[in-house]
Amino acid sequence: MKPLCGPLHAALQYGAEHADQMMRDARLTDPVHNWHRHNHARVLASARLAQSDELGSWTVLPRGKTGSLQLANGFMTVRVLRPLDGGVPVPGLNKRRRAFYVQPTITGLPMDEAFPELQVSNFVATWEVLDLESFEVGVNVFRTTGTFRIGDASKVDLAFWLPDEADALASLVFEPSDKGIELPIPKEESDVEPLRG
């Protein structure tokens, strides 16, 4: 999912910022309109991601009737949703969505994306605005293993926070180099007598 880190954060931040402006322009700032705000944001993010050339082998799947945002890489799929009480949203009654949630539990410790079961997994990514001024977003990723209802414990065998580009930047270093900058110290023998105490 590495190629998704920067673009997904940037697209959701862009979507959230512009959706907020749209709702303000329409004077729909009451929390009752939050669903529309989030839907606008998701649509805008989806459009921006579809135009991105930084997704590597990931593609944005065509939006369904609900305007859902989904990305796929081979048999790996990520569905981007709003969180429910900070956790995984319930699948609800929609059969296709319920089927998306159901998959065999991974055994062992998947340390990287080469883990074969991850290559054919469905993931739920939840996003939320972390700062209402900057519209910085946070993205959590879950691998579900079955359906569940509101109030039940979610069925998840893998959960992680998707880093944004800060982590990519963390590996960058400016290393000073004085190669070729010679200090013109006068030669001892010819120019100056070394002092001894």
């Binding site: 920067g6 940037a10 900070g86 939320e128 605005v129 972390l130 700062d131 209402l132 001024e133 900057s134 910085e136 946070g138 959590n140 926070w161 880093p163 580009e165 800060a166 982590d167 990519a168 930047l169 963390a170 960058l172 270093v173 400016f174 290393e175 000073p176 180099s177 004085d178 190669k179 900058i181 010679e182 200090l183 013109p184 110290i185 006068p186 001892e188 120019d191 100056v192 070394p194 002092l195 001894r196 105490g197």
Partner: protein, 371 residues
């Protein structure tokens, strides 16, 4: 007979070690009123008093024979924040003056080339500062339009020794923690120049401090400015990233990640680059505000991603070898009239220990949620 400057040196010694007259009275076993009278020149310093003070503070006796350098304190350029304490500022000034003195001895005895930098006179506009920064790059013998790979070494090559200013008491809070950044003084063309900086900051901040102090040397040698700090900041920005390159590199469409990548090439902080882009009119006010909000939201105001490794001075260590061969520092105490702990900080400094957070760990539990 004691030096006529013994009283002034006594006060300098107290300032360096951060001790009050009362504390010195305890350490040296002398009366406070006597110490006060000697410091004010109302009584001569007897050899016994000098010996007691030297023993009490761990100073060589020659420290009190030194004729103080005529570095006027009011012309010392001091890059610090307004919250820096006055006591610590005096300590930093006293240490700087000792560094200036020792570096001058080494430069004179080794016959190292003196600083020959451009300098401003009369009225100076922002355009003049841009031109002076370009002339300074020329004087430093570095490319006029490329990143500076090692600013400190280029400054040293141009005849300006650089040294970290470190408090002698190891348990003291570092000067970098006290909102101090740098100090500088230049006597004029073919005269001695010296830049002191307070280690412990990120490498990009040290580089900006050096460029800022160099700006003071160039801009304020022969003139008094209404706002010298603003001028030095402008000079530093221009020296580190010349205008033409900034115009090519910094623009409206850049994200924070882009600024991070530029930082890794130019060794200038992301915040510095954003300020420069705004200052040069390359980004709008709104874009600037948006970028600053993102910086704040990510906690990057205090700790940015992209490490700029600190530069380390080399000139004074080489001059020491040139002048004194391989004599250990202990044997140079009397000669240079400073205790070993201070000589070490100037001539054989430890690698800087970064006081700011050095990691980028983000804890999920600490992240805020929207309501």
């Amino acid at each position: 007979m004691s030096s006529p400057f013994a009283g002034e040196r006594l006060r300098t010694a107290r300032e360096i070690f951060g001790v009050t007259q009362d504390e010195l009275r305890n350490r040296a076993g002398l009366s406070q009123s006597l110490l006060s009278q000697v410091e004010r020149g109302q009584k001569p310093a007897s050899p016994e008093l000098i010996k007691a003070v030297a023993d009490g503070l761990g100073l060589p006796l020659t420290f009190f024979d030194v004729v103080p350098d005529d570095v006027p304190l009011d012309s010392l350029r001091f890059r610090k924040q307004k919250t820096a304490s006055a006591v610590t500022t005096r300590r930093a000034q006293a240490l700087f003056q000792e560094g200036f003195r020792v570096s001058r001895i080494l430069v004179e005895r080794s016959r190292y080339p003196r600083a020959l930098l451009p300098y401003a006179t009369g009225e100076v506009t922002d355009e003049d500062i841009v031109e002076l920064a370009s002339q300074t790059r020329d004087a430093l013998q570095v490319a006029l339009d490329k990143p500076l790979p090692h600013l400190m070494r280029a400054i040293e090559r141009a005849g300006v020794p650089v040294a970290p200013i470190v408090l002698p008491d190891p348990e003291a809070s570092p000067l970098s923690k006290n909102q101090h950044f740098g100090l500088s003084y230049w006597g004029g063309p073919y005269e001695h120049a010296f830049i002191g900086y307070f280690p412990g900051h990120a490498g990009d901040r040290d580089r900006f401090t050096l460029a800022h102090e160099l700006g003071h040397l160039v801009l304020h040698l022969r003139r008094r400015a209404v706002d010298p700090e603003r001028e030095a900041n402008l000079f530093a920005g221009e020296l580190l990233m010349p205008f033409d390159r900034a115009r090519e590199t910094l623009g409206m469409g850049l994200t924070l990640s882009d600024y991070g990548r530029i930082k890794a090439v130019w060794g200038v902080s992301m915040q510095g680059l954003i300020m420069r882009a705004k200052q040069l009119g390359l980004i709008t006010d709104d874009r600037s505000v948006s970028l600053w909000k993102q910086i704040n939201a990510r906690g990057w105001r205090r700790q940015e991603p992209v490490t700029v490794q600190p530069e380390r001075p080399a000139l004074l260590a080489k001059l020491r070898t040139s002048v004194f061969g391989d004599l250990p520092l202990r044997e140079l105490e009397e000669e240079l009239a400073l205790p070993m702990v201070l000589l070490k900080s100037f001539l054989d400094p430890e690698p800087a220990r970064i006081e700011e957070r050095g990691d980028n760990v983000v804890y999920l539990g600490a992240r805020r949620s929207s309501p």
